[in-house]
């Protein structure tokens, strides 16, 4: 455990001054900022009868975050984390240290997950900040005084957990192959495929569509438990398999 803790602390230091770290904070701004601009300009949100304005506003952000942003963001973040070691061939230094290779891999996996978790937290805070600002600038939109913190945190958390599977797969790809382009191309292609696959009967379990499926029906509070379990347990299994594959390879 101590070795793991030391490896995680080393990973955290490596993220200092990196694009990977700042993107975790900026990515939610892209979605929330776009929606904020749209609602500010419109002055209205077309809330359906079954939802409160806050929940519908939250849904507009959460669904796009889950369907599109999270898979692309995971692709980019894991590719950046992996690329950090591929440039200058750090693997020969890391793997010559008295640290089990599995620990090094696990630290990379957790590093990617920490960035996505940080981004998920930033998402909730930016949604709320944007909503509070809209309430001040466009009171006609009708955002209620009561902010659904619990629902926002719960769904951001569930999307994060459901994303474990793609985090693990993309981490494996980014560490297994040296090319940054390969990692990004695979993630982007499979995310785009998910936009269509999600409409099939089995599309809910397409890994890159899982976060989007979980985010769906946010305003109604529907919990997609099978997708959540598939993403979380699948993520753990994929992480173990990915780690086994990468750690047994020669460092050439």
């Amino acid at each position: 455990m101590r070795v793991m803790a030391r490896a995680l602390r080393a990973e955290m230091l490596k993220l200092k001054r990196t694009l990977a770290f700042w993107l975790a904070l900026i990515a939610p701004l892209v979605i929330v900022g776009a929606n904020f601009g749209m609602f500010l300009q419109r002055g209205a949100i077309n809330t359906p009868e079954y939802a409160s304005t806050w929940l519908w506003y939250g849904q507009m952000n959460i669904v796009i975050w889950g369907l599109l942003m999270i898979p692309l963001f995971v692709t980019l973040e894991t590719a950046l984390v992996g690329n950090m070691e591929h440039t200058s061939d750090h693997w020969k230094h890391l793997n010559a240290l008295p640290v089990p290779r599995g620990v090094i891999y696990a630290a990379k996996q957790f590093s990617g997950m920490a960035l996505i978790a940080l981004s998920s937290l930033a998402l909730v805070l930016t949604i709320v900040s944007g909503g509070v600002l809209l309430r001040l600038l466009r009171p006609a939109i009708g955002l209620e005084p009561s902010i659904p913190w619990g629902r926002l945190f719960a769904y951001a958390g569930m999307i994060f957990v459901g994303a474990w599977l793609i985090i693990s797969i993309q981490t494996w790809i980014s560490l297994r192959w040296k090319s940054f382009v390969v990692a990004c191309a695979v993630g982007v292609a499979l995310t785009m495929a998910g936009v269509f696959i999600i409409h099939t009967s089995w599309g809910d379990f397409w890994p890159w569509a899982l976060p989007g499926g979980i985010a769906n029906e946010f305003s109604e509070g529907v919990v997609h438990l099978p997708e959540l379990l598939f993403g979380s347990i699948g993520g753990v299994v994929a992480a173990v398999l990915g780690g086994w594959d990468v750690t047994r390879r020669d460092v050439l």
Partner: protein, 304 residues
């Protein structure tokens, strides 16, 4: 666990590694004494880096074994790597971090004390630049920082692959002095690979020469030099007569195609005898030089 009592820092037996049809390392049996500076020489592509990667457990041999400090690397990798510091090929540095932060990353992984960072920086004379980002470092500074990384953890064995890459002459001299001091002052064994003879010649107490994946020689520099015999180059007015005369006397002689003779000798006394004999037979000698083979001559002969 049985421990080998032989005083060897590195011992390999039958070490072999293939890449497809290419045998990159072929039955290499290294014996690196503790406290030595072992120069591992060979032309580019000879198998030096592949061997080093096997010594560090980065790649697995197809045949053979690696023992460090008498223990099997396969069985005790983590424990053994605590006693080893390494610099393999180019420096592995994070350009967005400062020199100190780069050392801190490795320090955290090793669980070493913070004082070791300051000691390592002082050893490589990088204290003043430690808080600048590595992307602003010169090639020489990066090489020194990479050496500092290898020294973190106070290793007993330092494995360095081309450590003077990118260093200017002053830096190379400084590195040479540093490598010489390590066994004397700290009892550290140095395993140093290079394709530059001049670099190894001046510091190594033991030499291993590898060519086409095979270990062609292993021993001290003196033993290496003894591989080639001394010879005398003669310029005489009648080379054919001189050649016949010397051959009759039992010396090995050959013409070099430019009117000079090469005679294999056994020290300076032979030189005197040859000169005297030729003069006595009326042959005029206008050029006589004793040539002792350099390490380069031996190296080129072995690896050609």
């Amino acid at each position: 666990m049985q421990q080998d009592v032989q005083p060897l820092a590195i011992r390999t037996s039958g070490l072999t590694r293939r890449f497809g049809d290419l045998v990159a390392v072929d039955d290499v049996n290294l014996c690196v004494p503790r406290g030595s500076v072992y120069g591992f020489l060979g032309p580019n592509g000879a198998g030096k880096t592949t061997t080093i990667r096997m010594l560090l457990g980065l790649i697995r041999p197809h045949e053979g074994e690696v023992h460090l400090f008498g223990q099997s690397l396969h069985d005790e990798r983590i424990g053994l790597m605590r006693r080893v510091g390494a610099l393999v090929e180019s420096p592995s540095l994070y350009p967005h971090l400062t020199g100190r932060e780069n050392l801190e990353v490795t320090r955290r992984l090793l669980g070493s004390s913070r004082e070791q960072i300051e000691r390592a920086l002082a050893t490589v004379h990088l204290e003043e630049s430690a808080d600048r980002c590595v992307k602003a470092y010169s090639t020489g500074m990066r090489q020194r920082l990479a050496l500092a990384l290898a020294l973190l953890g106070d290793p007993e064995l330092l494995i360095l692959d081309e450590p003077t890459n990118g260093l200017d002459p002053a830096g190379i001299r400084e590195m040479r002095e540093f490598l010489r001091r390590l066994p004397e002052e700290l009892g550290v064994t140095v395993f140093l690979s290079s394709h530059l003879l001049s670099e190894v010649e001046q510091v190594a107490t033991h030499i291993g020469i590898v060519g086409h994946g095979r270990l062609l020689f292993q021993g001290t520099p003196e033993e290496l030099q003894a591989q080639l015999e001394d010879h005398v180059t003669l310029g005489v007015d009648r080379p054919e007569k001189a050649e016949r005369l010397l051959l009759r006397a039992g010396w090995a002689v050959r013409q070099n195609g430019m009117g000079h003779l090469h005679v294999t000798v056994n020290g300076r006394s032979d030189v005197t005898l040859i000169n005297t004999r030729l003069v006595q037979e009326g042959i005029r000698v206008f050029h006589l030089s004793l040539e002792q083979p350099s390490l380069e001559d031996v190296f080129l002969r072995l690896t050609s």
